[in-house]
């Protein structure tokens, strides 16, 4: 058994660190887009809008029922063969597109559950003072649902950050792709993959601190 080459690992730190911004960029853009899309999908499902509700249910079923990697390959390698507009799509865009759709399906169901979970009396109180449906959703229901669903959404964001590592299968050199390249050159696979694992771990731990602060802030209204 050989010893870990700590010197090599140390040398990799700035290399992998150089790709952190790309990983965060893909995760943050995907998360923001997924949040918007998921909220819309959730509202459609809660309001049971005819026809479109069925379409949304099918969308959610497909994106929850198939692996993320399969979806990424579909968008990057498959769809451009039949949709000329997608020809030449770069790996980063395809990854963001895939992550957005995949996670929006999961998040939509969580947001829908949180909306339904808001006490019926809150809807009625808002209606009773003459609020329109969009006013009561925006002012009363979604803020309360957000408090309930925030921990779950943060967990999805963490999953999404880790999910960006699949972008390397589309030829994107992000943190995982950089580690893969380094390992292929040095044959020090353990060191390369261990250092990239530590990078993901540190990023996620930093987010967990932010998550606790966010939950404390959102929980203010229910604190005595």
């Amino acid at each position: 058994m050989r010893a870990l080459d700590l010197g090599y690992m140390w040398d990799l730190v700035p290399v992998i660190a150089g790709y952190v911004p790309l990983t965060l960029f893909m995760a943050i853009v995907s998360m923001l887009a997924a949040l918007v899309l998921a909220s819309l999908l959730a509202i459609v499902r809660v309001q049971r809008l005819p026809v479109i509700d069925r379409v949304v249910a099918l969308f959610i079923s497909f994106f929850r029922g198939t692996p993320l990697l399969v979806q990424l390959f579909l968008f990057y390698f498959g769809l451009p063969q039949v949709l000329p507009a997608l020809e030449g799509i770069n790996g980063v865009s395809a990854a963001i597109f895939g992550l957005t759709l995949h996670f929006s399906a999961y998040m939509a169901e969580s947001i829908r559950g949180a909306i339904i979970g808001v006490d019926r009396s809150q809807w009625e109180a808002a209606q009773s003072i003459g609020m329109t449906q969009s006013q009561l959703l925006r002012r009363i229901i979604l803020p309360q649902a957000t408090r309930t669903v925030a921990p779950t959404l943060m967990n999805y964001f963490i999953d999404m950050i880790k999910g960006t590592s699949l972008a390397f299968t589309l030829g994107v050199t992000e943190m995982m792709g950089a580690a893969q390249k380094e390992a292929a050159g040095s044959f020090l696979y353990l060191e390369a993959y261990l250092i990239v694992a530590i990078f993901y771990w540190v990023i996620v731990e930093a987010l967990s601190v932010g998550q606790r602060a966010l939950e404390a802030r959102l929980g203010k209204a229910v604190a005595r």
Binding site: D119, S121, Q122, E124, A125, A126, Q127, S128, I129, G130, M131, T132, Q135, R139, I140, P143, Q144, R147, K220, A221, V222, A223, R224
Partner: protein, 246 residues
């Protein structure tokens, strides 16, 4: 602020169950009407139908110069009707994500389009009137049941509704908080506010109401001034009910 209120032939069914079997009722401006009767007899449903929290199946509701045919009511009709009524819920139903002051401001800013500054000034004025001038920044979860219900009443007051609807406003309260809420409703009643109150507090109904209505089986069985209804009820069902609760 108050116009006449007229309800004609109001019907509400839940499936095969007819909960309101054609209610006719008129309230003069400033009149205070209490509704009493056994549980499950349609009292709360009547109030909820007036605010379209439950949609009536038939009948006509008129408040001031606004008249709405229940069966044909559009979204705009429903909103217009709600904007003329204030509803006080049995379980307070304060917006949990907003402070007491924000609960009072919400209808003014979001529905009426007031500036935040004007709405806050009015909210603070009402908070003082309801004895909660120092609790404006408190969230509902940090307030007692009595305080929450007073904010619930304040929220309805803030909108200067032509008709205030009280749906058993003290039923969910611990006995220690009932007095303060009833005192507040008495003060509002003294201000010439038209109000319809569903209550199980017979003494309160006797004291505050200009007219008391006894409902049973989705119909108005008997109505009259408190002295007449409580002292000399004409219908056997009214007398039987009053004996049970008395």
């Amino acid at each position: 602020m108050s116009g006449q209120v007229r309800i004609d032939g109001l019907v509400k069914r839940f499936g095969d169950n007819t909960v309101l079997a054609g209610i006719d009722l008129a309230l003069e401006p400033g009149e205070r009407v209490a509704i009493i009767g056994p549980s499950g007899t349609g009292k709360s449903t009547l109030l909820r139908c007036l605010n379209f929290l439950d949609r009536p199946d038939a009948g006509r509701i008129a408040i001031g110069d606004l008249s709405v045919d229940a069966a044909r009511a559009t979204k705009a009709d429903v909103l217009a009707l709600r904007r003329r009524t204030g509803f006080v819920f049995q379980n307070y139903a304060l917006f949990a994500n907003k402070t007491a002051r924000q609960n009072l401001m919400e209808g003014l800013t979001t529905v009426r389009g007031w500036s935040r500054q004007d709405a806050a000034a009015k909210a603070d004025d009402i908070l003082r009137q309801i004895g909660l001038g120092d609790r404006g920044d408190s969230y509902p979860a940090a307030m007692s049941g009595g305080q929450q219900q007073r904010v619930g009443i304040g929220r309805a007051m803030a909108l200067d509704a032509e008709l205030m609807l009280f749906d058993e406003p003290t039923s969910a309260l611990d006995p220690e908080w009932v007095g303060e809420v009833l005192d507040l409703i008495r003060r509002i009643a003294d201000g010439n506010q038209t109000m319809l109150i569903v209550t199980h507090e017979m003494q309160f109904a006797r004291e505050i109401a200009d007219r008391v209505i006894f409902m049973e089986g989705g119909r108005i069985v008997e109505q009259g001034p408190p002295s007449q209804l409580f002292g000399n009820a004409q219908d056997d069902r009214t007398r039987a009910f009053l004996r049970r609760v008395g």
